[in-house]
């Protein structure tokens, strides 16, 4: 790969507005063949909009897109594909009901405007690409039966069979395990050797920095910086992404020595996900559970909430043995859970804030003997939580859809606080939340713990864990490998243990 080569893609001064809100304010980007370019920024900075514009899904208000020297003033999805641009979205856009081979070949056949489809022609084409990349893939299996990593490989093959010159990958490492990420990077190196230009869109940088040569950072729709990856590190990128040094200093109040246990987990095992997990969470304590993706951290949380019941082991809440086979069991035991996928699992987007807040505690407001809801008490609960969590919205009857990420997360939190849970589990509590909101949410968690709840945070955002947790458990390959306490909770130790 030579530095002097002409860029294969150049976008300049892209402006895009949605209903008066400026999503992109003059963003430029240039991609060279055979290199990996990382597009970074927080959620909502305009990354997604930019790739949609490059791939022709959205049209920019102004700006230029030049692919291999040809200017495209009206990019369409098929035009982008013809120009050699392929996007691999986070959900891969694959057809689960079709085989891997078909998924790989079909897009190309569409673009070639074919009328007939031939299995006999399709199979060798798919095989060729799989062979060239040196990967293993069961081409005759329906895609919905493949693992996430294999789905991604299918998507990559699909892009290549169509002779992609520019491959855009949206958060490619999110759902992969560590070994799978390494396998992906091996494929990426293959691709760059073939002269493909890659654009990685990500908000998780440590992994991406391994393979990227150049990094472009966006913030609030504006271009902040483009620099060689070698000149950047995690901290400086974080600063550019957020616009200020992140204040995540450790603020932890000492627990009283006699704090009683509110959640005790003994020898919890779910074959294939985690095994022999034991820990105790005390009243007033914030406990962090961390590990890489696929380490089993999320599964442990989902087992405690009954989404994914454990095979064996015991769970004790507040001194009472609990059998948690379903979400109902967990809620009845006094456990609340703020899921990572807030939009589909946490919120009713078209319902009002008020309806969302009382969704989990409806049964508590039944009056006797009429069994009708006690509207006064509901109003009190909603008003008090609305104020206590400082949800910024015109009023409680606004639909949740109109809220920002941080405020939406507060609504999910409010929903669980309304149940007065003994144990509150949060999976990725600040994912997709802007920085200002983030520190406020962490402050709310400190407050709730201080009020006597046990708080369990599952996260791979290590600075956040350091900022709020009394103790942190590190999970690796389904087992608790280290417990850090007090001053031992420190960024580098955790990161080292996670990845070891």
């Amino acid at each position: 790969m030579s530095e002097s080569e002409a860029p294969v893609l150049e976008v300049s001064d892209i402006v895009k507005t949605f209903g008066g809100v400026r999503a992109l304010a003059g963003v430029s980007l240039s991609l060279k063949p055979g290199t990996v370019h990382c597009l970074a920024g927080e959620n909502g900075c305009g990354k997604s909009t930019l790739i949609k514009i490059i791939s022709g899904v959205e049209r920019p208000d102004s700006g230029r897109i030049v692919v291999a020297g040809t200017e495209h003033d009206r990019m369409t999805p098929s035009g982008a594909m013809d120009a050699g641009i392929q996007v691999i979205y986070q959900d891969f856009s694959l057809f689960g009901n079709l085989t891997a081979a078909e998924n790989i070949v079909l897009t190309g056949e569409v673009a070639a405007h074919r009328a007939l489809y031939s299995r006999r022609r399709a199979r060798p084409a798919a095989e060729r690409i799989v062979r060239e990349l040196g990967i293993k893939l069961d081409l005759e299996e329906d895609v919905e039966r493949l693992s996430v990593a294999d789905k991604q490989l299918t998507a990559i093959c699909r892009a290549l069979v169509h002779d992609a010159r520019i491959l855009i990958m949206d958060e490619p490492t999110t759902a992969l395990t560590r070994t799978e990420v390494q396998r992906l990077f091996a494929v990426v190196r293959q691709l760059t050797e073939r002269g493909v230009a890659l654009l990685f869109v990500s908000h998780k940088l440590d992994e991406v920095l391994q393979v990227a040569q150049t990094v472009t950072i966006l913030r609030n729709g504006s271009h902040v910086l483009t620099a060689p990856a070698a000149e950047l590190d995690g901290a400086s990128i974080g600063r550019y992404m957020t616009g200020h040094d992140i204040d995540e200093s450790r603020q932890v109040v000492r627990l009283p020595a006699d704090a009683s246990a509110v959640l005790e987990v003994r020898d919890l095992t779910l074959p294939g996900a985690y095994r022999d997990v034991s820990f105790t969470l005390h009243r007033g304590e914030i406990l962090g559970l961390t590990g890489l993706l696929g380490s089993g951290r999320s599964e442990i949380a989902e087992s405690l909430f009954g989404v994914l019941p454990a095979r064996s082991g015991t769970i004790t809440v507040d001194g009472q043995d609990c059998t948690i086979r379903s979400i109902d069991d967990a809620v009845a035991a006094g456990i609340g859970y703020v899921p990572e996928d807030r939009l589909t699992q946490g919120l009713f987007m078209d319902a009002s804030i008020a309806d969302n807040i009382i969704a989990s505690s409806l049964d508590a407001y039944r009056r006797r003997p009429s069994r009708l809801l006690d509207r006064r008490r509901i109003a009190e609960t909603i008003t008090s939580l609305f104020g206590r969590l400082r949800i910024k919205a015109p009023n409680v009857s606004s639909p949740v859809r109109s809220l920002s990420g941080g405020n939406a997360q507060r609504v999910v939190l409010a929903k669980w606080l309304a149940t007065k849970p003994k144990v509150l589990i949060l999976n990725g509590p600040t994912v997709g939340v802007d920085v200002g909101s983030k520190s406020e949410i962490l402050q709310i968690l400190r407050q709730e713990a201080a009020d006597g709840r046990g708080v369990l945070i599952v996260s791979d955002d290590v600075p956040e864990l350091v900022a709020v947790c009394h103790r942190v458990l590190v999970i690796r390959q389904g087992q608790v490998v280290q417990e850090l306490e007090g001053d031992g909770v420190d960024l580098e130790t955790i990161q080292r243990t996670m990845a070891a």
């Binding site: 209903g19 959620n43 008020a354 009857s397």
Partner: protein, 360 residues
Amino acid sequence: MTAQKEQGSLRRVNASVDEVARSLVGRFQTNRGVRRMLVLVVVAFALFAALRPGVYLSTLNLQNIAVAAPEIGVLAIAQMLAMLTGGIDLSIVAVANLTAITISTLYTAAGSRGDALGPVFILIGLVVALVGGLVNGLLVSRVGITPILATLATMQIFNGLAVVWTGGRTLYGAPRVLTGVGNATVGGIPVLFIALLLVAAGIGILINRTALGHKIQLQGANPTAAAYSGISSRRTLLGTYVMTGLLGGIAGMLFIARNPTASADYGASYTLLVIVIAVLGGTNPNGGFATVTGVVLAALTLQIVSSGFNAMRWSPYQYAVAQGLILIVVMVSDQVHLRRRRRGTPPALPVGPATPPTPV
């Protein structure tokens, strides 16, 4: 955050206290479906009254509307409940017929004691409906069959049983309790119509003021989030379909109260009609939103149109065309309205490509 802003948001919080009550009780007052239905009721009525004032405005015709609307109104309310959870119940008409057939059969079998035992027979008829609803509920919530298929199958089964039972004939005879109610009026208003209003009020309270009602709405709005909120879809769905079955049974009582006959294929066109009414009344067929008021008004509108067609001596076939056209026009206009509104607002939460919610 500045002190001023802080105060502003405090004031907003205070203002919202009043909003809470309003949002919980009476969303229907400002609802588009209800407003539209009010307009349509008036327009339809005025149109036919103007075309055929002599026939149309007669007491007899008005009473006919008020007597015919309740059975389809109750069925439509049942359909609305099923749709509120994002499902559908194709079997309600068959359930209603089973109830009517049960009551009529028992009445005839009891001979001279039929009238005395009337209330017992009605109760048995309702139990039959309840069992029908329970079967639907179990198939949907336990076995996990999609509502449209589950109720399609049970519709065939219930209807088939009714055909076998009656041998395809029409049964005559109904307890005097029911026929009496069917003919009675209070202050000129038929008791049947009052029955519809009572059912509507009951379901309105169920939806807006009980825990189950809220759960039904949330289940329809986002089943995944409902599961993650500790709302048991099993119990919610079971409750919903038992309720639709029961409402079907009540409709069956109304059938037989209005006209003391029962047969397996009474109301063959009702399955479509009640879906039309539910959608026309502002029910979102994908779940999560519906209002009882809108549905009652929609039932009235269609009955007004139907009797208007009668008064004009237009054929029932033309009424079928009108019915279908009304449904399509309303859905298209809703969709256009929705798109226009969506286009005006920016995406609130910039996220990756939308992934469809996966059922848990």
